[in-house]
């Protein structure tokens, strides 16, 4: 009995005869799940908008009939039944219809172990499909370096579409066509690699089936491991050590560093190193860059550059931020550069080829490693990138169980790290690691308290202010690229003059990357993040500047932190990147053999800077002068020089910040040239 009669009784609703309190749940589905009734769903995702498409979460509501529980706001006194015959029948039909058009080659599907469609079919006892397939087989899209899209396995739940748009603010894929022809496609039905996709893989993380999966590289790794003329080494990213255990049924947040090292050696890797070593290195390089910009007046804020999905996003959508991006390579690429410089001598390769394999929680790292700028004279800094899940699978192929392996230590020297380098696995971790360096340097006295708890947390956009020597350092930590928009707006309107902005594409940071074992969800993510902080605590050193092996590495190979040699090997540059490919609006196509190609950029930046008017004027000019046969005029999407918009190309002359007069002058000059040779 309630002994305090003043306290009002909490509002309740009835589900399957049980009275359940209402505590601000968004919908009936959440109330039911809180009570342990796992109503099946495909399209419901707690971090995305409610969609109500899959019709599996149907329930019967007294007085309202059969409703999708994800779309109904709970009301006091509501009476709900989740397991009536009608509900079961409808769910069964919905599943059978999905299965009828699903490419059921389950044994050879990358998601066979974690497929939600397979799991629900089994749960609902579907033993036959009564409907005939109506879809034609579509080809797989293997164009992306990071992801594979198999339209034949799509159940049109739209999770990927909403994740890409709502959490990442990209919108690389969307629904196209309608009814029986509905499909999830990149723009114009093109391949994934030609569009705006930043390779984060969040779509694959939320996909309930095998329609979107990380692109595997295991075969290439096995081939190199089998080759006696190759020495194969591994680098293990921070987040992998807190994710791999889940693949083998361990509790989320289990730290399995030693077993992962042992496992990599067991399957044939010659040496096993830690990406946290070069994460420590990133701390020094980026910390030094930050301090230099801080004292020299900019450009600030400094944006972190560890996350390749964020880097591609910035290159595509925010050319104006590229000077603010740290020039530091990501720890993965730094590792490749350092290993190629140090190991050949140290390991006595005797003419054998050094192969560097990354184990990453990330799909975008696959794309990053294959960028031209990270391949020197045909030799890539990193040869292959496999995900945490791929490593798990390789171990299982060999019959290895992670928990029965005796833990082993990383190889030296590139296996020695401080806690700072481990923190890179979690959102806020890079900021904290850099602060441990920068604040100590600014103060000039050893930092006793190394934890900066004000930068930790889960929100997609967090702010913190740290006061050092009376100076305020204003920080922003972003995860989920959609939040970048807010940050950029508040920087541009002057509301938030940040000094340092950390961006990680995946909500929660690398621990929840698309290469980690499937179905993270906020709670699993929390456990993994906690494990990263525990791992930091369990190490003896917490500041990158105290890493003795790193100090020696600088002494023997790179000289000063931020110095010339370090800059050559450990830093990079960024490029403006076009988002639309193979699209030109042909406006005037001259008929003469000798004609002058004129291209006006109408990508977003040039468009906003008046290229439409410029193009209009040029078009009229060509027409008025009757030059239609001598000119090939087209509008093109992005010349990758967004900082100098509007861009125009006349012949092979590129005109930046072009005006109509400048374009006309260039055109007239070329025309005069042609007329002279023709006569």
């Amino acid at each position: 009995m309630n002994t305090t009669p003043d306290t009002p009784k909490p509002a309740t609703m009835i589900i399957d005869g049980r009275e359940l309190p209402l505590e601000g749940e968004r919908n009936v589905l959440e109330v039911a799940r809180k009570a342990g009734i796992d109503i099946p769903t495909f399209c419901y995702h707690s971090e995305l908008s409610v969609y109500g498409a899959c019709r599996l979460c149907l329930v019967e509501i007294e007085g309202r009939g059969v409703q999708a529980s994800c779309s109904i706001v709970p009301e006091p006194g509501m009476q709900v039944r989740t397991n009536t015959k009608q509900v079961r029948d409808i769910r069964r039909i919905a599943l059978e219809l999905l299965l009828a058009n699903h490419d059921m080659n389950c044994p050879t599907c990358a998601r066979s172990a974690t497929c939600r469609l397979r799991e629900l079919s089994e749960r609902m006892g579907i033993d036959e499909v009564r409907y005939k397939p109506v879809h034609e087989r579509q080809p797989k899209d293997k164009s992306s370096l990071s992801l594979v899209r198999d339209p034949n396995k799509c159940v049109l739940c739209g999770d990927c579409v909403r994740a890409c748009r709502e959490l990442q603010g990209v919108g690389a894929i969307d629904f196209a066509f309608r009814g029986a022809h509905s499909a999830v496609l990149p723009a114009f039905g093109q391949n994934l690699d030609t569009g705006e996709c930043v390779n984060c893989g969040l779509c694959a993380s939320v996909c309930p089936t095998g329609a979107l999966t990380p692109r595997p590289e295991m075969d290439a790794v096995w081939a190199d491991l089998d080759d006696p003329d190759k020495v194969v080494i591994a680098q293990l990213a921070p987040a992998v050590r807190v994710g791999l255990g889940e693949y083998f049924g361990m509790k989320p947040g289990s730290i399995t560093t030693g077993q992962a090292v042992a496992a990599l050696r067991a399957i044939g890797f010659d040496k096993v190193y830690d990406t946290s070593f070069t994460a420590d290195m990133t701390v020094l390089e980026e910390g030094e860059e930050f301090l230099r910009r801080f004292s020299d007046g900019g450009p600030l804020p400094l944006f972190t550059s560890c996350c390749p999905a964020w880097v591609k996003y910035a290159e595509q959508f925010h050319h104006e931020l590229l000077p603010n991006l740290s020039s530091c390579k990501s720890p993965q690429q730094m590792f490749g550069a350092v290993a190629r410089k140090m190991l050949p001598e140290q390991m006595k390769l005797e003419g054998k080829e050094l192969v560097i394999v990354s184990v990453m929680p990330c799909t975008a790292k696959k794309f990053e490693a294959k960028q031209d700028k990270f391949i020197h004279d045909g030799v890539p800094e990193v040869n292959h990138v496999i995900t945490t899940t791929e490593l798990g699978q390789m171990l299982r192929q060999c019959g290895l169980q992670l928990d029965t392996l005796e833990p082993e230590s990383f190889d030296m020297p590139l296996g020695f790290k401080t806690g700072a380098g481990v923190l890179f696995g979690v959102s806020g971790g890079v900021t904290e690691a850099v602060l441990r360096y920068a604040v100590e340097k600014m103060r000039g006295t050893p930092l006793e308290q190394v934890d900066f708890k004000e930068v930790r947390g889960e929100a997609g956009l967090r702010e913190a202010v740290i006061t050092v020597n009376g100076v305020e350092l204003r920080l922003a930590i972003v995860n989920g690229l959609a939040n970048v928009k807010t940050v950029v707006e508040s920087i541009q309107n002057g509301a938030c003059p940040y000094h340092l902005v950390e961006v990680m594409a995946c909500p929660g940071g690398c621990v929840a990357g698309a290469g980690q074992p499937h179905a993270p969800g906020p709670e699993v993510r929390r456990q993994r993040a906690r494990a990263i902080y525990h791992n930091d605590k369990g190490l003896e050193l917490h500041k990158a500047q105290e890493n003795p092996e790193l100090a020696r590495c600088y002494r023997e190979h790179f000289g000063e932190v931020g110095g010339h040699a370090a800059h050559d090997a450990l830093h990079t540059e960024y490029q403006h990147r076009r988002r639309l490919h193979e699209l030109n609006l042909e406006i005037i196509e001259g008929q003469e053999a000798e004609k002058i190609p004129v291209q006006v950029c109408v990508g977003t930046n040039c468009f906003l800077n008046g290229s439409q008017e410029l193009l209009r004027k040029l078009t009229r000019y060509v027409e008025n002068k009757n030059l239609e046969d001598r000119v090939h005029l087209s509008a093109t999407f992005c010349m990758e020089r967004c900082g100098q918009s509007p861009n125009v190309r006349v012949g092979d002359t590129h005109l930046e910040r072009c005006t109509f007069d400048a374009a006309r002058a260039a055109l007239d000059e070329r025309l005069a040239g042609i007329m002279a040779t023709v006569q």
Partner: protein, 163 residues
């Protein structure tokens, strides 16, 4: 790659200006663009997406969702044969067969190679009293027979030939 004439480009700019480049006006913008080209070339869709600040994939999604929008070129004359219930029982199928035969359209093709005609069926034009009905562009022809369809097409072909 599709040719955009200078006039069409001027027109796209004018349409975008008229709707103040508002993303909420995407559908009327696409309708107006289609009126210019008689379909929606993907280059024009990309240009509209850029101008409105929308992702090209979502513009493509809208353009493919509505049957009204075409992503392949349509003929100068769009012939709609109604196949709603009333027209169907009045043998609209024979109209369609006659038109397709007259225009020598092969199986799976709806547009003539000279881009003069596109033939489509619609499910009710709301003119059931005139069944069976054929509409050429905006002009409604009621109480049709295969022979009368031939006549209508012949007239169009004649007027095209004299131009």
């Amino acid at each position: 790659m599709k040719q955009t004439t200078t006039r069409q480009f001027e027109k796209i700019c004018e349409i975008l200006d008229r709707y103040e480049r508002k993303p909420a006006k995407l559908i009327p913008i696409l309708q107006a663009v289609q009126a210019e080209y008689r379909y929606l070339p993907k280059e024009a869709l990309a240009y509209v997406a850029t101008a409105l600040g929308l992702s090209p994939s979502s513009v493509f999604g809208v353009a493919t969702f509505y049957a009204h929008f075409a992503l392949t070129p349509k003929g100068k004359y769009v012939v709609h044969v109604c196949d709603g219930t009333a027209c169907h029982v009045k043998n609209s199928e024979s109209l369609l067969a006659a038109i397709r035969k007259k225009l020598a359209l092969k199986e799976g093709k709806n547009t003539t190679d000279d881009l003069l005609f596109t033939v489509e069926t619609v499910s009710c034009l709301g003119a059931c009293g005139l069944a069976p009905v054929m509409v050429v562009n905006e002009v409604v022809h009621g109480m049709m027979t295969p022979a009368k369809c031939d006549e209508v097409l012949d007239k169009i072909l004649e007027s095209e030939a004299t131009q």
